[in-house]
Each structure stands twice: as C-alpha cells, then as structure tokens.
Amino acid sequence: MTPKTTTPTSSARTKAPKSAKWEMRLYVAGRTPKCMRAIANLTQICEDHLPGIYHIEVVDLLVNPRLGKGDQILAIPTLVRQLPAPMRKIIGDLSNTEAVLVGLDLRPRL
C-alpha cells in the first residue's frame, strides 16, 4: 500500500478552531483489517470534528520501514498528531472514538 493522502471534505458540526491546520500521520503495516479500520475510523472522526482543516498522511511501514523510526513507532496502527503542537500519539484501530477525541485534545481529559 502506498502512502496516500485523504483530502478533507467539507462538513460542519465541530468545535475545533478553524484557523489551525491539523496534520495527522497514521502508521499502518499493509492492508490488514485493523489498519483499514483505523483509516476509516480516523477519516470519520476528522470529518465529524475537524472538517476542512485536517490533513491525513498514511504511512505504510511495510513499504518504507525506515519512516517508523523518527516517531518511534512500535504499535500498529499508530496515529501521530503532528500539528497542532504538542505531538500526540494514539495507538489502536481508533474504534474507541471517545479515547481518540481525548487523545487529540478534542475532549477534556477526565
């Protein structure tokens, strides 16, 4: 699977600041069900909460193993929020939406 970019589509219903640009990188390893779920879940969450201001980069480590080093990727899938700072890491297939929102600081931590 080649790294691909999911172009954001316009959709409302979000509290996120529209001025900021959200840079997301999702590390996957091949087209496993887990990875495919993660891509779908992430896209859904971004569409719901960050319409028009996000950018997702999917990195397949099977294709380019060295890319995992910089972000110290051990778990697959791993989502890295590069912007806005600070960097956040969320692991798993992102099926737990609440946890993802908390991890992305879109919900206050309990």
Partner: protein, 581 residues
Amino acid sequence: MAKNLKKSRDSVLSKVSTGFPGFDGITGGGVPKGRCTLIAGSAGTGKTLFAMQFIAHAARDLGEPGVYMSFEESAEELTLNVASIGYDIAALVGKGTMLVDHVYVERKEIVEAGEYDLDGLFIRLAAAIDQIKAKRVVLDTLEVLFSAFPSESILRAELRRLFRWLKDRGVTTLITAEKGNGTITRYGIEEYVSDCVISLDHRVSQEISTRRLRVIKYRGSSHETNEFPFLINRHGFSVMPITTVGLDHGASEERLSTGIPRLDTMLSGKGYYRGSSLLISGTAGTGKSSLAAWIAAAACRAGERCLYFAFEESEKQIIRNMRSIGNDLAPLVEKDALRIHATRSSTHGLEQHLVGIIDLIESFRPTLVVLDPISNFIASGTTSEVKGMLTRLIDMLKVRNITGLFTSLTFGGSSLEETETTISSLMDTWILVRTYEHDGERNRGLMVLKSRGMAHSNQVREFVLGDQGIELVDVYLGTEGVLMGSARIARESTLARSQRDQAQAERRRLDLIAQKRLDTEAQIRSLQQSLEADQDELRLAQEALDAQSHADAESRQRMASNRSADPAGKPAKAPSPRRRP
C-alpha cells in the same frame, strides 16, 4: 539413520560462542544457536555489558553481524560504556557489522484507542536485521514495553509472537530482563524464553562484592549448575570456572636453582621443577618473604622473568629490606626482569584479584610468579573460596608452564601443618620455615615437608639470614636435642676445642713412641758393641792358650830326647795334650 540421528543431534546442540571463554566452558559452547537466551539480573549486575560483548565480540572477532536494540540507553551512551572494556562500537557500526538501534518509548505520550499489535517493532527489527544481515540480536530490555503499553494481555501475546518470529528467522537472540522479587524476572519473561536462562547476581559479603553467574536452564544441553564468580574489567566480562581449566597440563623436567646451594641440595641436588607450585609457610618473622624474594632474584639473575605480587609491603620497602640481607633487587627491577606489584589483598574481591593477576601475567609474560602471602586472601573470602581461586590460578599457571611461588603465614597457636591443609594439596613443593626457642633465643629452622617428583632431604637445617644473604647451616641433633643459634655456635666451638686437644694428645703419643724406639735402637747398638768386644777378647785368649800348649809340647820333646830313656818318638806316660777348642 545414524546420519539422521547425528544431524538432529547437531541441530539440537548447535551453539554460538559468546566471546567469554569461561562462559562457553560452562555451557559447553555458548548460547543455543538460532534461539532466545534470557539474561536476568538485578540492576547493575552487568546484563547490558554481557549483551553488548555478545554482539561486539561476534562483530569484531567472528565477523558475524549483530543488531543491538536498546530500549533504555542511547547508542551514544552504549558506545561510551563499552569503550571502557575495549570495544570501539562506532568503528564496528561504520564497518556495517554492527547496528545499534535505540528505541525510545515513553508511556505518557501514548493513548490507547482500540486494537493494535507490535508490527512496528517487528518491521523495525526486521529492517535492522536485513540491513546488515545480522546473525545475532540483542533486545535490552523488552520490559520497558510493559510500562509503555497499557494493555498487558496484548503485549504478552505480541512478545510470544516476537520470540517465535525471531526463532523462525534463525537469529540467535539475547534478551535482558530485570530480576523480580522472588521470580527470575519481574514480568515473567522467562515464560516465553524457554531455551536458555542465565542469572546474574551481585552480592556483598564481608563488605566485598562479588558478581556471580548461574545457568538456570538450558534446554537440550547439559550445563554446569553451579554459581560462578565473574568479573567486569577492562577486557569486559570474564568468567573463570575451575572446570574450564582441567588437569591436562604438561610436566617439565627442567630444574631451577633456588639460589641457595644447600637448599638445592635438599631438593635432591637440583632445585625445583619449572612450572611447579612452591609453598613457603611459617609463622610470623620466619623469613618467608626473604626466602621468596631470594629465590625470585636468583631466578631473575638466571634469565627468568618474575612477577612478584606483594600484598603486605610496598615495592620500595621490599627492595630496601632485601638489600639489608645482601640481595639487591633494584637492578633486576630496572632491567624489567622483576616486576613487583604491590596491592592490599582487601582492596578487591577474590575474583578481581584473580583476574587482575591473570591480566598482569598475560601482559608481563613471566616465568615465575610470586604471591606473598596468600594467607591474606582469607580476609577477602572464605577458605573454600580462596582454595577455589588458588586452584584456578595454579591450574592457569601450570597450563602456561609458569612456576608459582606462594608464601603463607601460619597463625600462632595453630598447628604448623594444619592451616595449609586446604591448599597444601595444590602444592608440589612445600618448604616449612619455623622458629625454635631455646636458651632464650629464637632461631629459624627450615625443612622440606614435601616435594613431588624428587627425593628431598628429611633434615632440618638452620636458616640464617645474614648481611651476605641466606645460608643453611647444619643443626645439631643429639642427646641435647636440636641445637641452633648461639647454642650451635657454642657446641661447634666446644667440639673444635676437643678436637684440637685430641689431636695434640695424639701427636704427643706418637712422639713418645718414636723416642722410645730411638732409645731401644741405641741400646741395641751398645749391646752389639760389647758383644763384639767380648768376642775379640775370647779370640785373643784362645790364641794365647794355643801358643802356650805348643810351647809345652816342644819342651817335653826336648826333655825326652835329652833323657834318652824312652823310645824316641814315644813319650812317657803323660797326660794327653789338651785339644784345641
């Protein structure tokens, strides 16, 4: 079928060298090839160093590439740490025979949201292995993952998968783990690594710490089950078990002089064997060190190289003291034929001493090694530990055909021959120096208690330390007991005097006999003379008598013819003339 059997046996027992000769000896070749080995131990026991040497040795000495995946220390830190034991990691990495990968994980950065696996780690490890075609892998330490990932069940499943995966790839893996409280490892990693488990330990006993190693389990192979002391020094990790040396060393026929002619005589005339072990034991002040230094100096002057380990005196003190008995060591030290290495025996544990000694032996390459005294080691360990250490040292010396000379202090009160029983069996030649107290004097006596392979003297000799050196003098063993020192000198002069007197008496007696003989001869001569005089007189008297009788006969004839009464020629009855005598 036999071939199949052999093949399967080979595959079961195939091992790879770790680079620590002692360890390879314990395990019969090293760690299992293509499998996982666990190194467990508490903090500071040397797990990382063991693992690093495992990779670096293979990369440098065997040309076998290896990946070191560190979860704790960075590559820079590791490089620095291993430089202290003589490995240049940067150079090995540069040559592509080694790869150090620092995996940095911190829990607080990670949020869990759904299912995941550790494919990222697998991919990273696979990439590293493929990059340098690694045969060996170290994971130091995976336990960090337990604090990084919240879901222990996922992690355990992934670890199980990781070890199977490594095994399938055929790389020999070493993983390190922290020792748990009452368990081999804190997180029970031994559960996944079932092939070989090694435990490292670090214990302090009597304020001296000793590192120990034990092979807890080794599937498919026999191994030593004992705990072995080990050491980390500038050559890295070293284990020296007794069992790896063995008793198959040669035995030299060459004999070396002790430098004391009479001591050589006591050792069947030729001195000690090269490569043998000599023990000089005795109570305080009996001259053990002096004797040892004398023998060492004599050997050096005969062209040997001697390494002298002094545990009681400094080099300068030894040189000064030996000079006082006419044994100047300074020129030998300058020539580097003799090296004196002075340390306190209590400064290190026994293992460190042993490795330190062996280190110096390796670099100086002596033919004679002196340890003065070995009894001080008792302070650094128990008797059995000391014996174990000395056994290994002596075996090591014998394998290299180096003569070992040891002194041992016997403590007052204990039997002279008892204290050393623990080590005496290791010694080939045992010289006992003891003092005899007599007439308010203490004098030194020397005897050869045993000496393997030669007919040694059974005599006690007086051992005299004078300005001119060491001398062995006969002692008097008579009705008065053993006489030494002044008593011996007094006895000697008494004997000399009586010998002188006896000689004089003898001479006088001879003179007397000669005189008597002369007298007798004179007497014989005078008697002879008087005998001759008597004979002369007798002859004269006879002649006179003969002349008289002749004259008488003539006158009778004349008277008869004058008378004309009787027929002529027929004399009248007359007494017949006397016959001549």
